[in-house]
């Protein structure tokens, strides 16, 4: 790779990593947007440091951003990096094992000094040997700091500003490496630094110099070429994070239903962004209560639901535990509410910034009494929009709490999102008590769907008393009658099961004629799909059934699964969906592939595992 070769690649993974203060998130975002504009598929994942601001240069303070671009469909931010930029030895230490064999590693020589090695906890002054990568990785030393200083020399910037611009030098260099014209980046920077003209000037200058530096380096480094994706559906796109997409899905649903959106919430990693995003849209009338705790988060929302809003609450695992009792009230009062759980590593406070799928059984069963709720899960950053929308639709149309599971990985990650128009989204028709309906409708239900009529306060003639005690099937009055209770338990269950009537069938992806069926759910879709696609491409035969609707399951679930000889359920937990399937789909031996490390799957490990499964007596 020491000649000016252009590598044409189908897809490539780039990671930027440095100190929290080094601006890696911005750098990564810009690079990913530039690539998307050029027609690539993209998927990104930020990797925040575990501490808010660890001492500069230490391992605890490393912040990273990974971008996966492709000329064809890509599903994840990628496993290991083809190109890695590290701003200091700490970043190197954290990321060394994530560079591909033969990959490119660009590092800032100005930050690779003795004191830097010490801060990062290296024992020697040759970190590359210490990490045993000096042979396997292409090292590209660049004096980023001093080049940036030179670039801005004499323009009157203080040293802090100068050094904070070095990420732009790195970005310029990487843009050159990937043949990304930087003029589009200038546009983004203009938006970002609207009010700080001098910073804008500095950033553009350094970016340009970084790009030019790349051109001059040409002789010793090949560049990459990732073509425009051709198999993408035509349209207008942006890149969106799962948390933002979730927030927008709620906004869209409220407008479609003609309701005010209300969210009662309490901050918790990694779910806070949803509430923060929503709090921006006072202009759209979104009401956000930052409540005193999670219980108040959901109970203020239940109040709003009772009062006739599209009500939601968002949280992560420990918060969902706290909301358990109130979700039970929503079940009993048959009030619509969307409960979003952005799952993180547990149990207890656990690993707050890491991803996991360990809240499924809690979502299904974590309440006293027989209290069925709808449970569903999104599978990519962008489809959080769709599933937040559908969760709202189901809650409103079926008068039921809906728990929507996302996770830290898709919540924080981004992917391409084709911009929707409200008019194209499915209709939402809540089951209101008609003004001219019989009086008994106020407290009764549609006998077909079992959905209770919604009598919203403020309307004359619809006054009624709701609550958490068991109610008489007909009159809604408190009842402790034995048979009535049995009937009500059955009715609430039937209502939730009826949701299946409006659900799409689960579709098989990959090779549907395979003997091996891989089952996944939620945020692992990208990794499973990548692994399955790769293996089918290599000539293996694997089918994938990925679930977004869990309770109730899509109607074709049992029939679909029955077709396969071998079924393996892959999850980021100890086997929760597998357990659930065992209770719902009799007679099937469900194999399990589980990972509980606070990390997403890697495509590589999945391929290896599927390979080993196929080698067994299929």
């Amino acid at each position: 790779m020491d000649k000016a070769i252009v590598n044409e690649l189908d897809h490539v993974v780039v990671r930027f990593s440095g100190d929290s203060g080094d601006g890696m998130q911005l750098t990564g975002t810009l690079f990913s947007n530039l690539s998307a504009i050029l027609g690539n598929e993209i998927s990104t994942f930020p990797d925040f440091p575990s501490e808010i601001r660890a001492p500069q240069g230490t391992v605890g303070g490393v912040s990273g951003f990974q971008v996966h671009l492709g000329a064809s469909k890509i599903f994840t931010p990628g496993d290991d990096a083809d190109v890695m930029v590290v701003m200091n030895p700490a970043a190197l230490k954290v990321n060394a094992k994530s560079v591909k064999r033969g990959g490119v590693l660009i590092f800032d020589t100005d930050s690779f000094e003795k004191s830097d090695f010490d801060k990062a906890g290296f024992k020697t002054e040759n970190p590359f040997e210490e990490l045993a990568i000096s042979e396997t990785v292409q090292l590209i030393p660049v004096p980023l700091s001093s080049l940036t200083q030179q670039s801005l020399d004499g323009l009157g910037f203080d040293n802090k500003t100068v050094l904070r611009s070095k990420n732009m030098f790195a970005l310029g260099l990487v843009c050159w490496l990937f043949n990304r014209p930087i003029d589009k980046a200038v546009g983004f920077l203009e938006a970002k630094f609207k009010k700080k003209q001098d910073l804008l000037t500095a950033n553009i200058k350094v970016l340009t110099d970084g790009y030019n530096y790349g051109s001059n380096l040409q002789l010793t480094l090949s560049t990459f070429q990732v073509d425009k994706s051709t198999n993408i559906e035509k349209g207008t796109y942006t890149s969106i994070s799962g948390n933002k997409a979730t927030a927008w899905g709620l906004i869209a649903a409220a407008e479609k239903a003609g309701l005010q959106l209300f969210i009662g919430s309490y901050p918790i990693t990694p779910a806070t962004d949803i509430m923060q995003e929503l709090s921006l849209y006072k202009n759209l009338g979104v009401k956000v209560i930052q409540a005193e705790d999670e219980i108040a988060g959901i109970t203020t929302s239940l109040g709003a639901s009772f009062a006739g809003c599209l009500a939601a609450t968002n949280t992560s695992g420990p918060g969902l535990a706290l909301k358990s009792e109130a979700i039970g009230l929503a079940v009993m009062a048959e009030l619509p509410i969307v409960v979003i759980d952005v799952m993180r590593g547990g149990p207890s406070t656990g690993l707050p910034t890491k991803t996991e799928q360990t809240d499924l059984l809690q979502a299904l069963y974590g309440r006293n009494g027989e209290s069925p709720v709808v449970v569903m899960a999104a599978s990519s950053p962008a489809d959080c929009f769709h599933f937040a929308y559908m969760a709202s639709k189901i809650a409103l149309e079926f008068m039921t709490p809906v728990i929507l599971l996302t996770d830290a990985f898709i919540g924080n990650g981004t992917s391409l999102w084709k911009l929707p128009k409200l008019a194209q989204l499915p209709l939402i028709n809540p089951n209101y008590t008609k003004k001219d309906a019989e009086k008994s409708h106020v407290t009764s239900r549609d006998e077909n769907t079992k959905v209770r009529y919604w009598s919203v306060p403020g309307v004359e003639g619809l006054g009624h008393r709701n609550g958490g005690l068991e109610k008489d099937y007909n009159t809604g009055a408190i009842s402790s009658d034995a048979l009535n209770h049995a009937k009500m338990v059955a009715t609430r269950e039937e209502k939730v099961n009826n949701v299946a009537n409006i659900l799409p069938n689960v579709e098989v992806e990959g090779d549907s004629s395979a003997d091996l069926l891989v089952i996944g759910w939620g945020g692992t879709h990208g990794h499973l799909m990548s692994a399955v696609t790769n293996m089918n491409a290599k000539g293996d035969k694997i089918a994938l059934a990925h679930f977004n609707y869990i309770n109730p399951l899509p109607k074709n679930t049992e029939e679909l699964i029955a077709k396969y000889k071998k079924v393996v359920v892959c999850e980021l937990n100890s086997g929760q969906f597998a357990s659930f399937l065992r209770t719902k789909v009799p007679g099937v031996e469900f194999l399990q592939y589980n990972k509980v490390q606070g990390q997403p799957f890697t495509v590589t490990e999945l391929e290896e595992y599927f390979g080993s499964l196929l080698k067994l007596t299929l």
Binding site: Y237, T238, F262, F306, G328, V459, G468
Partner: protein
């Protein structure tokens, strides 16, 4: 809340449900008073939402013909906050007990008071957990023997007024279940106050804590043992209306008009509207038998309500907004054709 010209009577606010409190329970009187007040307020029943937690007292919503929500234990304040913020045009009452409000519901209580949400909190203080059959509550007097404190409680009780003031309450009032007149005037004032109106109703649990307020309740002694405060009026009380309160240094004292040269003009005038709560708090914390127990509206000051502030912010941003709907929002994305 729009008021109307329709004339309502208490009957319009009675639901068809049988009232299931024990015969002789103090809650009955409060319910009747409330129905009367609701009728007098002339807010239509369907514009009224009554939210409660769990407890004997929290069953009240069933008995009122309006929109009612009997939620879960302790969460009434939060649910009521949600209802009011969602639809500020509803008149929202929160019905709660000393356990529901101050034990499990303590956090939501202090936060709704702090935020000054425009709800009326009717706190039935019988100093006991009625529904669960007689355990001590956070307002039970220290040393009192109950089912869960067979050797007497070892806990210092909350004084609801003090906690309300500590949470920056803008309205606090008190009445005795049997005193219908004060009950109605106080609830009516609470309904009109913009902000969280905390009304402590001293009620008798005839089964598990009979007579907790008994020494006040006896009709003939009530004038001597309580003082009904009215804004702008001198703090006079007593069967002969010859006792009054004065301030000596930082301390409230009872004096007798006509004795030791004390005249009516020496008596303190009640200022419920004073922002400085010093004297109001002293009044609220007066304890017998030396001092009369204060009834009536003790504090009533204006401040922005949370629900109004939420509305105002939305109103302002909508007025300025270029983004008017979801499609506009989507249009603001950095976007590109593919």
């Amino acid at each position: 809340m729009e008021t109307t010209n329709i004339q309502y009577t208490a009957k319009d606010f009675k639901s068809d449900q049988y009232v299931r409190w024990c015969p002789g329970c103090g809650d009955h009187a409060v319910l009747n008073s409330l129905q009367k007040v609701l009728a007098d307020l002339a807010i239509p029943p369907h514009q009224t939402a009554i939210i409660s937690g769990i407890g004997c007292s929290s069953r009240l919503p069933y008995y009122i013909s309006s929109y009612g929500f009997h939620t879960i234990h302790g969460r009434g304040a939060a649910v009521a906050t949600g209802v009011k913020v969602a639809n500020p045009s509803l008149a929202v009452w929160q019905i709660t007990g000393d356990g529901d409000c101050l034990a499990i519901g303590g956090n939501h209580f202090i936060h709704s008071v702090r935020r000054n949400v425009d709800i009326n909190v009717l706190l039935f203080n019988n100093q006991i957990y009625g529904l669960t059959k007689g355990q001590y509550s956070p307002t039970t007097k220290k040393g009192f023997v109950t089912k869960s404190s067979p050797f007497g409680t070892v806990e210092r009780p909350f004084r609801p007024a003090e906690l309300t003031f500590g949470a920056r309450g803008t309205f606090f009032a008190r009445f005795l279940d049997v005193d219908l007149k004060v009950a109605q005037s106080v609830m009516s004032a609470a309904a009109k106050h913009k902000g969280t109106s905390v009304i402590e109703s001293l009620v008798n649990c005839i089964i598990f804590n009979n007579g907790a307020h008994g020494w006040l309740a006896e009709k003939e002694n009530r004038p001597d043992r309580t003082i009904v405060l009215e804004h702008g009026k001198p703090m006079i009380f007593g069967k002969e209306r010859n006792k009054g309160l004065v301030l000596e240094g930082m301390t409230l004292k009872v004096v007798t008009i006509g004795e030791n040269g004390v005249t009516e003009s020496d008596i303190l005038i009640h200022d419920a509207h004073a922002h400085d709560s010093t004297i109001q708090l002293k009044l609220a914390l007066m304890e017998g038998p030396e001092m009369p127990i204060a009834m009536g509206v003790i504090r009533e000051v204006e401040d922005e309500t949370y629900d109004a502030a939420v509305e105002a912010q939305i109103f302002d941003e909508k007025a300025k907004a270029k983004i008017k709907c979801f499609d506009d929002l989507v249009a603001t994305c950095e976007q590109w054709e593919m």
